[in-house]
């Protein structure tokens, strides 16, 4: 294998400026939406006291889960010694951080009182960091896990890029890998620990989110990698693309396995099976459509078929499969987060419940444009930051041609 040269993007073409302008517009629209939500109140969104987390959270949680998965390429190369992925490691690290920042930005901009984050005294934050608090507040853990992830991956990137620190990069990669597993586990447990809600309250959600993250992160990675190489005219051979495609297929298959196990388990319980499970999967509602069409068909079956059908063109197949996995991932989050809240909590078994807040009924939810724009801004921030990073850091290999990445390749 030849020595891989990493170079920055030139970043002077009209296309580059047009892309950045579009991204700034998307981010700006999201920020304006957030300001309007804070000025006028969240009543301008579709969120209510029943659907307390809405479309912004669908995007935010999707991005946060995908963030840890985007680091996988670096982990596979370094922790598991698959050198073919080595040239992609720096991009994988940077992208994982930018996706996380995009997701967190949406979460923070959606808060009712983000400014109180600054008011919360340091003592309060430190108190939250105490082990006794960690055991109770998953958000408390996640404060540490999210900020720590950016720091840990930053160190890992630094060790990888600076020649004299390269010797530490293996240890840093192992530490970052363990950290990312903890991060996604923590994100899964945000839901897993909601004991009162039937849609959640399952330990399987933690490993399930880890496996989802493999697929979502790799999908976003592919969607960034391929266009970047096409638009900058750099070589991208089929060896690496086919490997990524197969890897995506495996991750999608693993995700599907968890989906099947979770849903079968839920159907086994009479209360859940006839209640929330039937509602989410076989109800006359958008959640059932999102599950079957979005998550299962577009997000799982079709990408699986594309990933393992050999006669397709590698790049186009990977791009299509990755885009489908993203659609599937957003659908999954929609079903999990919003569908899970829409179904009433079973406070009074054996009774029908009526109240002014529609306690016994299905909660209505239609997102407004403000929520959608805020969610899209998270994606905008992610792409803007990663393109900016490509522009100032040497993280992109000049060539990913087959002969450059695979020593055994014969043209």
């Amino acid at each position: 294998m030849k020595t891989i040269r990493f170079t920055e993007l030139e970043g002077r073409s009209p296309g580059f400026f047009a892309l950045m302008a579009i991204l700034i517009a998307i981010i700006g629209a999201g920020i304006v939406s957030a300001l309007m939500m804070h000025g006028q109140g969240h009543h301008i969104t579709g969120m209510t006291n029943r659907i307390v987390w809405g479309t912004p959270h669908v995007f935010a949680v999707f991005l946060i889960v995908a963030a840890s998965g985007a680091l996988n390429i670096a982990s596979i190369a370094s922790v598991f010694g698959r050198t073919v992925y080595k040239p992609l490691s720096p991009l994988s690290m940077v992208l994982s951080v930018t996706i996380l920042v995009g997701g967190l930005a949406v979460l923070i901009l959606d808060l009712g009182n983000p400014e109180h984050l600054l008011d919360v005294p340091l003592t309060q934050f430190l108190y939250n960091s105490m082990p006794s608090r960690w055991t109770r507040s998953v958000f408390g853990w996640n404060f540490i896990l999210y900020t720590g992830f950016i720091f840990v991956v930053g160190i890992y990137l630094w060790f990888s890029l600076v020649p004299q620190y390269k010797k530490f990069s293996k240890a840093a990669s192992i530490f970052a890998f363990v950290w990312r597993l903890a991060l996604t586990t923590g994100t899964g447990l945000i839901f897993g620990f909601l004991v009162a809600r039937e849609a959640y309250d399952a330990a399987i959600l933690a490993p399930m989110f880890v496996v989802y993250s493999f697929a979502y992160g790799l999908a976003i990675f592919s969607l960034v990698l391929i266009p970047t190489y096409i638009w900058t005219g750099r070589e991208l051979g089929d060896v690496i693309v086919n490997r990524l495609k197969s890897l995506l297929g495996i991750f999608v298959a693993a995700s599907l396995y968890f989906v099947i196990v979770l849903n079968l388990t839920n159907f086994y319980s009479a209360a859940k099976g006839e209640g929330i499970q039937s509602f989410l999967l076989f109800g006359d509602n958008s959640y059932s459509s999102a599950f079957w069409i979005g998550q299962i068909l577009i997000g799982s079956i079709l990408p699986l078929a594309i990933a393992f059908y050999p006669k397709l063109k590698a790049r186009g197949a990977l791009l299509t499969a990755a885009a489908m996995v993203v659609v599937g991932g957003l659908s999954q989050m929609y079903v999990t987060i919003i569908g899970g809240q829409a179904y009433p909590m079973d406070m009074f078994p054996g009774k029908t419940v009526e109240s002014i807040t529609n306690d016994g009924g299905i909660a209505a939810y239609s997102p407004t444009i403000y929520e959608v724009l805020l969610g899209l801004a998270g994606i905008g921030i992610t792409i803007f930051l990663v393109v900016f990073a490509m522009n100032v850091l040497r993280i992109l290999p000049e060539s990913l041609a087959d002969k450059d990445v695979d020593p055994h390749h014969s043209a």
Partner: protein, 254 residues
């Protein structure tokens, strides 16, 4: 010998004190029913923190709760300055009437539902800024200055008892703020009354209507009306399976 006499005199004095205290309490309850609680003796000075010697709670008799009556809700929202904007889905509901129909017998009951002031509140567990908190005396509150409005507590609450303020607030009686979460405070300002704990507005209104379906009191005081009634007639917790040990109990919920 003299020591023994002193001891027995001390006991007699203790009995006298207890007798006087009980008599006074009973007299007080007779004179001003539902206004001043029998636990006046435990009134704490305003500069003292809440104590874990008390555990404030509510007992609600589902059989006495009148289906057409909404006075507890109205009184609560008036007392605490909770105003609506004509949209029940986003308006704050500190307390709400819930109509329950048994699927098998079609028996209909109504009950007021509010924050259950759990001993192990899931909302407090999940709060990342400690804005959700439980006082030593069992009252679960939200510190509006620390609440960032993430709504994780609302996801965690098994009773849907918390509301997010979706609109700007005006003319507040007690601290409220757009973008923060709030719920029943058990009329904590009345609990902390320098003259002694008073019934929450909901209980007062229920008594005034003559339904007398709600009791407020100290669950740790064996002589309080609420404890005596619970001991005599029992009471259930909603979602008892979660093991939260709620401060609000219900009777005749069947």
């Amino acid at each position: 010998m003299s020591r023994k006499t002193n001891q027995s005199e001390g006991k007699i004095n203790q009995y006298r004190r207890n007798f006087l205290a009980r008599t006074t309490a009973i007299a007080g309850m007779t004179v001003a029913p539902g206004v001043i609680l029998n636990s006046v003796a435990q009134a704490k000075p305003v500069d003292q923190p809440a104590s874990n010697k008390n555990r404030w709670g509510l007992l609600i008799d589902a059989n006495k709760c009148s289906s057409g009556c909404n006075s507890c809700v109205t009184a609560c929202h008036e007392e605490n300055g909770v105003t609506g904007f004509g949209n029940p889905e986003t308006d704050a509901q500190w307390i709400r009437k819930v109509k329950l129909t048994d699927k098998q017998t079609q028996k209909v009951q109504t009950i007021p539902l509010m924050c259950q002031h759990c001993e192990h509140p899931p909302c407090v567990d999940v709060c990342p800024t400690n804005a959700s908190m439980k006082r030593e005396d069992g009252v679960v509150l939200v510190d509006k200055h620390a609440c960032i409005g993430c709504r994780y507590c609302m996801m965690a609450c098994p009773y849907g008892a918390r509301s997010f303020l979706h609109e700007p607030t005006t003319e507040q009686k007690y601290p409220r703020g757009q973008g923060t979460v709030e719920s029943c405070t058990l009329c904590v300002h009345r609990i902390d009354d320098p003259n002694g704990p008073r019934n929450p507005a909901c209980v007062e209104a229920c008594n005034a209507e003559g339904h007398k379906a709600m009791w407020f009191g100290d669950l740790k005081d064996p002589n309080s009306e609420i404890t005596k009634r619970l001991k005599e007639y029992g009471g259930v917790q909603i979602r008892a399976d979660l093991g939260l040990n709620t401060g609000v109990r219900y009777q005749n919920l069947s």
